[in-house]
């Protein structure tokens, strides 16, 4: 990675920290503490399931909200505030700027996820003080998939941010996330249709990001194993999709007049 990308990424991370994005950790900490105390009192033998479900879902939702709402401003805010002018008048290529912004926000989300994951494990230890069990490694896989979701959504938000207003970018990115959550259902629907409808539904099913394939929270909560093949496939899928979205963002941004 070029040093310039690293500097832009680190500045993006610093912006997120100084703009108090990581304050969401406080809300998460309150949620997890409350959940851990509460489930210990009201549930019988399903404490672990509730804490994992609640914790991982919250990590995913908090992160998606950050990815969308920060991601949509990564380029457009810099154009509106004209901070981009002095950056691009340096020996910085436009693609380096996009890449730096992407890695900066991705880094923020990874740090956020690590802190939240520590909260989930702390809650698990609270309700089950003896030890963590072997099947809890599944939680790490679920967390890894959640990070892959963040990469996808960040890349999409950046893509939209490179050509449209923050409001429209937020709508597009959120809509794709919601549709992507039902991507498997969309594929099932495509298989049931015929003719032009089949082709259209299939195309739509493959264009939207398959967020549902990256959601293994329920399986992990029920201590079902995650196949190694799925990890490899999801990694390849999420990285390819993110790279394609980033390339789209770069292609658009390389041609854009900064009026």
């Amino acid at each position: 990675m070029s040093a310039r990308i690293l500097h832009i990424a680190s500045n993006t991370f610093r912006e997120a920290v100084r703009d108090r994005v990581l304050y969401n950790l406080i809300a998460f900490a309150v949620l997890m503490s409350g959940a851990a105390i509460l489930v210990g009192q009201i549930s019988i033998n399903i404490e672990r399931l509730v804490v994992i479900n609640l914790g991982l879902t919250a990590i995913s939702l908090f992160g998606i909200v950050i990815a969308i709402f920060i991601g949509i401003g990564l380029v457009s805010k810099e154009i509106d505030k004209r901070t981009l002018y002095t950056v691009l008048s340096r020996p910085v290529r436009r693609w380096e700027f996009i890449a730096g912004k992407f890695f900066g926000l991705a880094g923020t989300l990874v740090v956020n996820t690590i802190c939240m994951a520590a909260g989930v494990f702390a809650a698990l230890l609270y309700i089950w003080p003896h030890h963590l069990q072997g099947s809890d490694t599944g939680i790490l896989v679920a967390l890894y998939f959640i990070v892959l979701q963040f990469l996808l959504i960040t890349a999409l938000a950046l893509l939209f941010s490179s050509f449209s207003s923050p409001l429209m970018s937020a709508i597009f990115a959120f809509a794709l996330f919601v549709i992507g959550t039902f991507a498997e259902d969309l594929r099932g629907f495509a298989e049931m249709t015929h003719g032009a409808q089949h082709w259209l539904a299939t195309a739509a099913a493959y264009i939207v990001p398959n967020i549902s394939a990256l959601n293994v929270i329920a399986q992990v909560a029920h201590e079902q194993p995650i196949a190694g093949r799925l990890i490899v496939f999801n990694t390849a899928y999420a990285l390819t999709y993110s790279v394609m979205a980033l390339l789209g963002a770069i292609l658009i941004f390389e041609r854009r007049n900064l009026k």
Binding site: R18, Y85, L88, P91, N257, K259
Partner: protein, 313 residues
């Protein structure tokens, strides 16, 4: 080798939603700026100055034409290491302190890590921000932001500095400081290309100026050469309290102060006015040419253009 060579550079934007039409922001512009000069790019708001600067910085792509900086195409990333840029009404990352901002731009400009702290400290001192180095920019006044802007533009010791309206909105002290920095840069052999609509600043600083109006280049040259093309006036002072009708008839503006009369009239009428004073047997005190200012030149040019446009309409 010229510092900047602009050849038939032009820019049009498409406007409208359904029925798109082309709006020309800059007519084909050709210009050469030599190394080591302070070059003023003048014109009223909307003349095309910022569009030109943005094209030179690679922020906006030209519709046609080419530009070279230090002999290299403006698309060449190497060129960017040799230039500094201060945009109009700059806005910087306000969550950073002045020191952090300069460090960031220093990193992007490729200043080695070992040299950076020394350069930053000396630059903060130079622009008078040493005491505010650790204050976040969101707490800075407009003048302080302008100083940070200048500091980031010259931190990496560029050969050419582009400043877009650097004095705009500054108080007299702030303007003076910017002028001092520009003069220092010239003494250090740098080329300064700055846009302004404040003509007195350009007149005081520039070796040469270009005048842009409605996206078109209207004149380029040394200030003295341009102003010499404007019809000059002359000020004639004589003893007395009477304004002679013969002088008034020579298109003169007259004032009486104590026991002297002062008349300002076109240079061409000077001899006739002196003859008239002699005929009236008054004592001539002085005859002084009134030098045309850049503003006179500019106003005359704009008036001519507007008269031309009016005639066409």
């Amino acid at each position: 080798m010229p510092a900047i060579e602009i050849e038939k550079l032009e820019k049009s934007y498409s406007v409208g939603f359904l029925r798109k039409t082309l709006k020309r922001a800059l007519q084909p512009l050709s210009l050469v700026v030599e190394e080591g000069e302070i070059f003023g790019f003048l014109g009223p708001n909307g003349a095309g100055k910022t569009t030109t600067l943005k094209m030179l910085m690679g922020l906006v792509f030209p519709t046609a034409g080419t530009a070279r900086i230090l002999g290299k195409s403006i698309d060449d990333p190497e060129v960017k290491a040799q230039i500094g840029f201060l945009p109009e009404q700059p806005y910087f990352y306000d969550y950073l302190t002045a020191r952090e901002l300069l460090n960031y731009y220093g990193q992007l400009s490729g200043i080695p890590g070992k040299e950076r702290p020394r350069k930053i400290e000396s630059m903060l001192e130079r622009v008078g921000l040493r005491d505010a180095a650790n204050v976040q920019l969101r707490k800075f006044s407009k003048g302080m932001l302008q100083r940070v802007g200048i500091a980031q533009a010259i931190l990496h010791d560029p050969k050419i500095v582009f400043l877009d309206e650097p004095m705009s909105g500054l108080d007299p002290m702030g303007r003076r400081e910017v002028r001092d920095v520009m003069e220092e840069l010239k003494r250090a052999g740098k080329t300064v290309f700055f846009s302004t609509h404040i003509l007195s600043d350009a007149e005081a600083l520039c070796d040469r100026v270009a005048i842009l109006h409605l996206g078109e280049l209207r004149g380029v040259g040394a200030v003295a050469d341009l102003t010499s093309t404007v019809q000059g006036n002359v000020e004639i002072v004589w003893k007395g309290t009477t304004i002679f009708p013969a002088i008034k008839a020579l298109n003169a503006v007259c004032y009486t102060t104590g026991d002297t009369v002062r008349a300002v009239l076109p240079e061409a009428n000077q001899d006739a006015a002196i003859d008239a004073i002699r005929r009236e047997r008054s004592r001539l005190v002085s005859v002084t040419p009134v030098r045309a200012s850049l503003e006179d030149y500019f106003v005359e040019k704009v008036k001519r253009i507007e008269a031309g446009l009016g005639a066409k309409a």
